[in-house]
């Protein structure tokens, strides 16, 4: 359709404002359509554009009320009306979690995640691995969290420019460029109060004045020239119990998900080796890219040059093959009466296998059937709240006293004229046990190579409830 030929090279020079671009010549090729008109040019290249394969095209951030409050395009602009398809799906879904992560519209595919009450909606036009996009969006949200401490609409609005700069650096032409937080932090300094005061006074900037070095190093997660007066390395071993316990107190399914969070503030280029007393316990592991997989395979030790600051070193899994001890038991009795539109509830929580530690932060969350109008309960310990619209009952117990077991009992009133609920709601338990890794995993030692200074080291163990559900 279009006949393009090189007409020739045109040389020209130009001045603009006060700047004189002296002696710079431009070699330009002029395209002409057969008809001699150059108007057709724009649609022509637009067309080519759409046919090319690409990754993430645009990103929209959507708040809980359904407004787009930030948009970023890495290629030509896509109208935000594309989000209407998403809003339609959002309308249909009962809760925000129920929106399908991947939607198909006539010209685009919408891939979204739901984080901190916000939707991160990305637009892609062609084949792409959906997990690739989802994982990237989560990484974006993680970065915001890392930079601003939380990931909410207000905080993003307050730091709009930094957010925009971050997005600019993270993707190039829709393909991830710099996602390591160490690299990003060198490019764009995270805001803090002191600096913002200094900046206003001196007119300084929050963009790194020197260009990042870790971009170029073989270890992109760590920059050169880190310096601390106190060198310290702390590791938190956090375990979460995922369990389903049935009505009679039998464990249907239980496993432990563990994560080793690290906070490493060491000068220079330290090379760390972390070893466990009983690494065989770990069933399945995944690592931060810094961990040398070969060493783990052969010696079962974690050998790595750590990123600077906080990071997740590894996650692991202790499967249900090993017996997982369940720290608490729940005795419950929830019944709805056929007559009189009411029900009774009686819940008692007690310690089971706590290895002599105290259970703290205990709470029970119950998603009540829609027909439960109000609750009238008394708790022997802690207090409860009932959210009338979401029908969620939260009983916050706190510390579990083995001598005096906390109970919650009372009556439920049900909407009149509605058949009684078929299913009893299941209870979600939340708890925390300090100084205990329920799987029994133990760090044996941490060795530092490559640097010569004294290091403060520490390991902390915490056990939490993950997806701990009691069926009734």
């Amino acid at each position: 359709m279009l006949y393009i030929k090189t007409v020739g090279a045109i040389f020209f020079r130009f001045t603009y404002g006060l700047t004189l671009y002296d002696g710079i010549y431009f070699c330009l090729r002029v395209h002409r359509s057969a008809g001699g008109s150059s108007v057709a040019l724009l649609p022509f290249w637009r067309q080519c554009w759409q046919s090319a394969a690409e990754m993430i095209h645009s990103l929209f951030l959507i708040n809980p009320t359904g407004d787009v409050f930030l948009e970023k395009h890495w290629k030509s602009v896509i109208s935000r009306s594309v989000c209407d398809y998403f809003f339609e799906a959002r309308e249909k879904a009962v809760t925000p979690e129920n929106v399908a992560p991947v939607l198909q519209t006539p010209h685009h595919y919408l891939i979204s995640i739901y984080r901190g009450k916000l939707f991160f909606l990305s637009v892609v036009q062609t084949e792409v691995s959906p997990l690739f996009v989802i994982e990237f969006l989560h990484r974006v949200a993680d970065t915001f969290q890392d930079y601003f401490g939380e990931c909410s609409e207000t905080i993003i609005n307050d730091n709009m420019v930094v957010v925009y700069e971050l997005l600019e650096e993270m993707l190039d032409n829709g393909f991830p460029l710099a996602t390591e937080s160490s690299v990003l932090k060198e490019l764009i300094k995270p805001p803090n109060i002191l600096r913002s005061v200094v900046n206003t006074l001196t007119g300084g900037s929050n963009v790194g004045s020197s260009l990042p070095t870790s971009h170029l190093s073989t270890i992109p997660w760590r920059r050169n020239g880190v310096k601390y007066t106190h060198n310290e390395a702390y590791f938190d071993v956090i375990e979460e119990i995922d369990a389903i316990v049935d009505k009679s107190g039998m464990t249907v399914f239980a496993e432990i998900q563990g994560v080793v969070e690290a906070c490493v503030r060491l000068s220079g280029m330290p090379d760390l080796t972390l070893s466990f007393v009983n690494p065989r316990l770990l069933d399945d592991v995944s690592f931060h890219p810094c961990v040398r997989f070969k060493r783990w395979e052969s010696e079962r030790v974690l050998s790595f040059i750590p990123p600077d600051g906080n990071f997740t070193l590894m996650t692991y899994h202790v499967s249900s093959q090993n017996l997982v001890s369940i720290p608490v038991y729940v005795k419950q009795n929830i019944s709805f009466f056929d007559s009189g539109s009411s029900g009774r509830m009686d819940i008692t929580v007690g310690p089971k296998q706590t290895m002599g530690k105290t259970v703290e932060g205990l709470s029970v969350t119950i998603h009540m059937p829609k027909s439960v109008l109000t609750v009238d309960l008394t708790a022997t310990q802690g207090n409860y709240t009932y959210d009338l619209t979401a029908k969620v009952l939260v009983w916050d117990i706190g510390k579990l006293n083995p001598q005096k077991l906390p109970t919650l009992q009372g009556s439920l009133s049900i909407q009149a004229g509605v058949p009684k609920p078929v299913e009893n709601p299941s209870l979600n338990i939340d708890l925390k046990i300090e100084q205990l890794a329920i799987s029994g995993i133990k760090v044996s030692r941490l060795d530092l190579f490559g640097e010569k200074y004294k290091t403060f080291k520490g390991v902390k163990y915490v056990t939490k409830a993950g997806n701990f559900q009691v069926r009734t």
């Binding site: 431009f26 062609t126 690739f132 989802i134 032409n173 007119g203 049935d246 690592f287 299941s426």
Partner: protein, 958 residues
């Protein structure tokens, strides 16, 4: 403010502008004011200007040009980061007229010293391509150059560019394949995803299906063991193994996309036995964000259909929590249903029972359907499920009841006679259930099986006739159906009712119903004019209907590459690259060789030394499994050596059989019928041999054994004669199987390399094929079709054999020009009814023909083939092979060489030349004391030489 001299003010202004852009407000009016700040010294202002520029340049093309010179200057900056960022912004400005500038910049950056700049160049390639696809050819050149880059930084980005610009140019990957595999673990995570996906497609085009034998096995379950043992054992290409080995650690990545990419790679490429490793990693992802879970579960659902065993140990990880989003619940349910089998069904059903009580009604409906599917798939629990579902019929929730009715209907269709009481029970439900689909299902059931419930059926019809006008359309249609069926079986009681229903239907508002009524009336009610059809009315209505098959919606989704958007949507997304089918035969693996010639020999010799004979035995030992894994695992650094591939290949392709060929060639000098026993090459397979024979006919077996004895005697006697054989299409001809009589449905074909000159074309190797028709019927029109060859190879087909009567045998000769490589020639062998895929793979010894040389000529030629062209090896001769005669015999059996007469009895020399290129092949076996010997092969073609050494070594040591 932008015109201000103070950077702080400029910055403030730019920040506001960028915030406007971020909120989606139009800031294009400010373009001229902003663009002149592009040269601003303040780096933050500059960055924000860049952001602005990239956003609006395509709308204000002319003004955008003003900024170009800044970037051009930037491209020359001594700081690599400034060069990179200049290139990045320059390539992001979507202005068509700067295409040549961009092209130039990319080309320059591609050969920049800094890998970071090269990476940026790689990123710029797709941008330019989308701006002007005309530049494709030039860009491919740049990609080719960057692909050769050895830094991890560049690898991911350039493969991305490759995928966007020229995914079809798979040939660019060959040379870089091994490098990419080895770099993979150090590439940044996003690059890993792209590379793995690309390599999956690559491997699909370049390697053979590792599960080919297993799949055949499934197809012909009755196939006898012999067929399996005789089938060409599959040997995995070392490069294929390399890919699998190097991607495996990435399953431990923290990035879900990487894990998924590896998982799909294993699913699509790995041998069945190894796919299991991905299950654990995928189950781990189920702990991740719900969006990740959603995608992973979709893929797991597809995998469970094909490889159920893989996820069975993790069954409990798919149990559903009441807090899961509905879509996750339904996917988990799908996986659980797919995993159900006889052993775990009771646990699954117990789990399902708790789900039925859930508050989420969509989920309950899905659970009921899942129970239905379990019941259809697993016969043992059908009754239990049915009972459970019947209990649900008394549930208070109407939706649950309705869904149960529909599922029960499907289940009952499988064995209606046993369950008339259930049908009766359901008939009672018509009074209560209001959901149209359920009512329709019940009515259909009663109509279909009215013979089982003769008393109730008319009564139901009566009730329905009463309420006909108030029913939904689908229910009305079923009422008509019921009436018609009852009329045919029990017209006495229902004649009037039927008439009544049909009359009502006649005046219905819906034309479908009116039509149906008219049609049925004509069909069943006999009138004077009634056509021929009414006779068949009963047959029409009461024909046996096949039970519906309850299938997973994820069936057949695996033709999409797992983990892809297309797979998720079950529809082809734009730009989706089809996953190619496995090739019938592997393309030449040597294309991936990157070694310079000198290293070939060096590496080859080393490999040979430490992987030689003992390795071969290992291979034999592990023949039981589908591929000799041990071999590859112990390969170590020698993996990259191409030479390594061939011997293993060739070796395993030799069927482990003692073959006896009776031929009447006048080649033994004695003139009498010569019989030869070929030495088996794969040694310890006595057991296999017996397996073999036990499968063949008893008579034949005995006959064979007798023959064998006899021949051995003959051979023993004729020893002296043979030893003087010098030039000859020599003594022993080994038969190879082309088509087994079971796979060939009675037709069995064997072939041997007759070592005769192939008269139509001197460059071809003659392959003598021996056809035996063991079937009871004649085979006609035997011929060759669809020859698939490596480039350069040629085949001269044999003349079509018009008729091969049952029980008869015949021979034919075809010529193949193998181009001096051991690549197989693949073709279809066609009879008048069937086509069989077969392949002929020559041992290296058959790629040469004997030449006659004198001792002096031999030495002269040998002296010209020294250095790289000479391979020598020390060996210990087999105990039975210590005399000159035995050596000659074994060498000439293994390779088509002729003996060079010589004076010393410590040395045996052999000469030949390759068939196609005519390169000389010289072999010397110098014997020493105690059975020690040295084997030397001189050949211009080093690959041939190395392989020949390997073969000869095997022949002499076993």
């Amino acid at each position: 403010m932008l015109d201000s001299n103070k950077d702080a003010l400029k910055l403030e202004a730019m920040k506001r502008i960028v915030a406007m852009i971020a909120r989606g407000k139009n800031a294009s009016d400010l373009f001229p004011a902003v663009v002149k700040n592009v040269a601003c010294k303040n780096i933050e202002v500059k960055k924000l200007v860049y952001v602005y520029l990239v956003r609006y340049a395509e709308e204000q093309q002319d003004l955008a040009l003003l900024s170009i010179s800044t970037f051009q200057r930037g491209l020359k900056d001594p700081n690599q980061l400034i060069r990179a960022s200049a290139l990045r912004v320059l390539s992001s400005i979507r202005v068509t007229i700067i295409v040549p500038i961009m092209m130039l910049a990319i080309k320059e950056a591609a050969s920049d010293m800094s890998p970071y700049v090269r990476k940026t160049a790689a990123h710029a390639i797709p941008k330019l391509y989308s701006l002007d696809p005309e530049q494709k050819d030039q860009l491919i050149e740049v990609i080719e150059k960057l692909l050769a880059d050895k830094t991890t930084l560049v690898a991911g980005s350039v493969v991305m560019a490759f995928e966007e610009v020229c995914p079809e140019r798979i040939d660019l990957i060959h040379k870089n394949y091994r490098k990419l595999c080895n770099l993979l673990i150090d590439v940044e995570e996003w690059g890993q995803v792209v590379i793995i996906n690309m390599l999956t497609r690559y491997a699909r085009t370049q390697f053979l299906n590792p599960n080919i034998n297993d799949e055949d096995e499934e197809k012909e379950k009755q196939a006898e063991v012999s067929a399996l043992a005789k089938r060409k054992p599959y040997v995995m290409d070392p490069d294929h193994r390399l890919l699998l080995r190097n991607t495996k650690p990435l399953l431990q990545s923290r990035n879900a996309a990487v894990v998924m990419a590896v998982a799909q790679l294993y699913f699509h490429l790995a041998p069945k036995a190894e796919v299991g490793v991905i299950a654990k990693a995928l189950v781990r992802l189920l702990r991740s964000h719900s969006e990740v879970q959603f995608v992973v579960l979709q893929n797991v659902a597809t995998m469970t259909i094909k490889r159920r065993g893989m996820f069975e140990p993790y069954l409990k990880s798919f149990y559903i929590r009441s807090t899961d989003p509905t879509q996750i619940k339904i996917l988990k349910l799908e996986v659980l249903t797919n995993l159900a089998n006889e052993t775990n069904i009771s646990t699954i059903l117990r789990e399902f029972q708790t789900y039925i009580k859930s508050m989420d009604k969509d989920f309950v409906a899905a659970t009921i359907q899942a129970i239905g599917r379990c019941a259809t798939n697993i016969g043992e629990v059908r009754d239990t499920c049915l009972n459970g579902l019947v209990q649900l019929l008394s549930n208070r929730d109407e939706l649950v009841v309705a869904e149960s009715v529909v599922v029960i209907k499907k289940l009952l269709q499988m064995q209606p006679e046993k369950h008339s009481d259930i049908i009766k029970h359901m008939a009672k439900l018509t009074d209560n259930i209001q959901v149209p689909m359920a009512r329709a299902s019940i009515l259909w059931l009663i109509g279909e099986y009215c013979e089982h419930v003769p008393k109730i059926a008319p009564d139901v019809l009566r009730k329905m006739a009463k309420s006909f006008t108030n029913e939904e359309d689908i229910v009305k249609l079923q009422i008509i159906n019921l009436a018609a069926k009852l009329y045919l079986t029990n017209s006495k009681q229902t004649k009037l009712l039927t008439q009544y229903v049909l009359n009502l239907a006649k005046y219905d508002q819906n034309y479908d119903i009116r039509d149906r009524a008219r049609f049925i009336r004509q069909l069943i009610v006999p009138t004077e004019k009634s056509g021929a059809l009414s006779k068949y009315a009963k047959k029409l209505f009461l024909a046996l209907k096949p039970a519906p098959v309850l299938e997973s919606p994820f069936k057949d989704r695996d033709h999409f590459q797992l983990g892809s958007l297309s797979h998720l949507l079950n529809a082809k997304a734009g730009g989706y690259q089809e996953l190619p089918d496995w090739p019938e035969s592997a393309p030449d693996p040597s294309v991936r060789n990157v070694e310079v010639k000198e290293s070939v020999r060096a590496v080859g010799t080393v490999t040979y030394r430490d992987t030689g004979a003992p390795r071969a035995q290992q291979t034999e030992g592990s023949r039981g499994c589908s591929f000799p894994r041990a071999v590859f695992n112990s390969c170590g650094p020698a993996r990259v050596c191409p030479v390594n591939t061939f011997p293993t290949n060739r070796h395993s392709s030799a069927p482990p059989l003692i073959l006896i060929s009776a031929s009447s060639e006048p080649d033994t000098g004695s003139g009498s019928e010569s019989v030869s026993v070929s030495v088996e090459s794969g040694s310890p397979s006595d057991s296999e041999e017996s397996e073999e024979s036990s499968e063949s006919d008893e008579d034949e077996e005995e006959e064979e054994k007798e023959k064998k004895k006899k021949k051995k005697e003959i051979k023993a006697r004729s020893k002296p004669d043979v030893s003087f054989q010098t030039i000859a299409p020599s003594s022993a001809l080994k038969n190879y199987e082309l088509l087994h009589r079971i796979t060939g449905e009675g037709l069995s074909v064997e072939y041997c390399f007759s070592r005769q000159a192939f008269s139509p074309d001197a460059n071809m190797v003659a392959v003598q094929m021996h056809f035996t028709n063991n079937a009871t019927s004649d085979t006609k029109n035997l011929h060759i079709e669809d020859v698939k060859l490596q480039s350069g190879m040629r085949v001269k087909e044999f003349a079509e054999i018009e008729l091969l009567p049952a029980g008869e045998a015949t021979t034919a000769v075809m010529g193949v020009d193998f181009c001096d490589s051991t690549q197989a020639a693949n073709f279809q062998l066609c009879t008048h009814t069937r086509k069989f895929f077969v392949s002929i793979q020559p041992p290296v010894g058959e790629l040469m023909r004997p030449v006659f040389l004198t001792e002096n000529e031999f030495k002269k030629e040998q002296s010209q083939l020294m250095g790289m062209n000479e391979i020598s090896e020390n060996l210990t001769l087999d105990a039975k092979c210590r005399n000159e005669h035995a050596i000659v015999q074994r060498v000439t059996t293994a390779a088509n060489l002729s003996r060079v007469p010589c004076g010393s009895d410590k040395e045996c020399r052999f000469a030949g030349k390759t068939v196609t290129s005519g390169s000389l092949v010289l072999a010397t076996v110098a014997t020493k004391d105690e059975g020690a010997a040295q084997l030397t092969v001189n050949c211009e073609k080093m690959v041939i030489g190395t392989m020949l050494v390997k073969d000869l070594l095997l022949a002499l040591t076993q």
